[in-house]
């Protein structure tokens, strides 16, 4: 199986790559359109802000390519947010593959932003991506913007209200947390994606 990591300049690429290696998969890091199109699985990682993230995809000429993919695609953290229609962060038009608008966490007393740390995943739908997920499973989050809950939400998390932790529409999937840094739970979910 060939897995590619889209090199869109995010700093967590190395960590995602190592996590895949621990699962026995050597993923190539690439921004080459032909390699991405030919891969069995495509992962769009990303740490940083939405606007430079999209700018980088445009510079690399990957926007239309990513939209046209038919194999399983996984966006991680910012990568998941870029799959959505729009992000409030820098008023950025994103890839539009998931009908959602990314919003900043609303200010509330005692609610620290960024949402940083381990929090519970609550499955909302049965989906192969969530196979084996238990009620007490937690994942590691680091983000200030989030995808609201919608019919695309496979799992949600509560932080001053529910938001989407795992999303999917057709072949496009997203995880707001960092599976590469979520210990055994993260490894299980990454493995599920590789087996889609």
């Amino acid at each position: 199986m060939s897995v590619v990591l889209v090199d869109a300049g995010g700093t967590n690429i190395g960590s995602v790559r190592y996590a895949l290696q621990r699962l026995g998969v050597d993923a190539a890091l690439t921004s080459d359109a032909a390699s991405i199109r030919a891969a069995d699985k495509v992962i769009l990682p990303g740490v940083g802000a939405a606007s430079p993230g999209m700018a980088r995809l445009r510079e690399l000429g990957l926007v239309d390519l990513l939209r046209s993919l038919t194999q399983p695609v996984l966006g991680v953290c910012l990568g998941m947010q870029l799959l959505c229609k729009h992000s409030e962060e820098g008023d950025t038009e994103c890839l539009g593959l998931i009908p959602a608008s990314v919003r900043r966490f609303a200010e509330a007393p005692g609610l620290r932003i960024p949402h940083m740390g381990w929090n519970r995943l609550v499955a909302q739908q049965s989906h192969p991506l969530l196979a084996g997920l238990s009620a007490d499973d937690q994942a590691y989050f680091v983000h200030s913007y989030a995808v609201p809950v919608g019919d695309y939400s496979l799992a949600t998390t509560d932080y001053g209200g529910e938001f989407s932790a795992v999303i999917a529409r057709d072949n496009f999937h997203g995880m707001q947390f960092h599976p590469e840094r979520s210990a055994a739970v993260g490894a299980k979910l990454l493995k599920n994606f590789l087996e889609l």
């Binding site: 700093t11 996590a19 740490v47 932003i113 960024p114 740390g117 929090n119 937690q138 840094r181």
Partner: protein, 256 residues
């Protein structure tokens, strides 16, 4: 609900994990990767590595061990020590660290925090603050604490610096209360509570853990997001699984 984090801190000196008392007299505790794996297996929520001699020696973190850790570890980790520029930070993040922490270089040049936040986002940027109460009762910041011969007292007040650091783009603050560090009498709840009142990003307590109750008090009384400790974990005095079960029984949200 967000879990409170238990964070073993590994002070790195010459490629080994060391620990001193009140920041002095360091003894070797073990190999970096070995200890990192042990804590991961025991349920640590995150790890912090301080290259404690990097800043006083004017060099940046040795990236080789950062990459070794990143390959084997599947929990988040933060690297601190001698990060003086966006390029230094990028190298450490690209080696696989999830966050970088700045302390002395940010005191020298506070604009570094703005630059790091702009380049990588606030979620990557941790500001470490070493703080000690002076004779006049005021908490003030210390610099170059990795080397006692180079440690400097600054006129900067701790709480003011904490506010400025957040305005500039700190996504998390680690407050190391030097007066309680290494002596195991408990976290400095007074200082942490004062810090909590002005800290609107995640706040991590550091310095003074000696018993499970100390962790509970830091979470329950000072409302910190995470608690960092070193010697009690390295020595085996406190085992993380027991600590977490104790905290769970005390109604502190933890990841079991």
């Amino acid at each position: 609900m967000l879990s409170r984090r238990i964070i073993p801190c590994l002070d790195v000196r010459d490629g080994k994990v060391v620990k001193g008392v009140r920041f002095r007299d360091h003894v070797v505790m073990g190999e970096i990767v070995e200890l990192a794996l042990r804590y991961r297996d025991e349920g640590a929520d995150e790890l912090v590595f301080y290259d404690i001699t990097a800043s006083p020696e004017g060099r940046s973190v040795d990236r080789a061990w950062v990459e070794r850790v990143a390959r084997v570890i599947d929990i988040p980790f933060c690297v601190a020590g001698g990060i003086r520029s966006v390029d230094d930070a990028r190298a450490v993040l690209h080696a696989g660290a999830d966050k970088i922490s700045v302390n002395s270089p940010a005191l020298e040049r506070p604009g570094l925090i703005d630059e790091l936040a702009a380049a990588f986002g606030v979620q990557c940027v941790v500001v470490g603050i070493d703080s000690l109460r002076d004779a006049d009762g005021e908490w003030r910041v210390r610099q170059y604490t990795g080397d006692p011969t180079k440690t400097q007292a600054l006129s900067r007040q701790t709480l003011r610096w904490m506010v400025e650091a957040q305005q500039r783009g700190a996504g998390e603050i680690v407050l190391n209360c030097m007066g309680s560090d290494g002596v195991r009498h408990g976290y400095d709840l007074e200082q942490l509570s004062a810090a909590r009142a002005v800290c609107h990003v995640p706040l991590i307590a550091s310095g003074g853990a000696g018993a499970a109750e100390h962790f509970r008090d830091a979470f329950a009384q000072a409302d910190v997001d995470g608690a960092l400790a070193a010697s009690v974990f390295h020595s085996g005095l406190i085992a993380i699984p027991e600590l977490k079960h104790y905290l769970h029984g005390q109604d502190v949200a933890v990841r079991l």
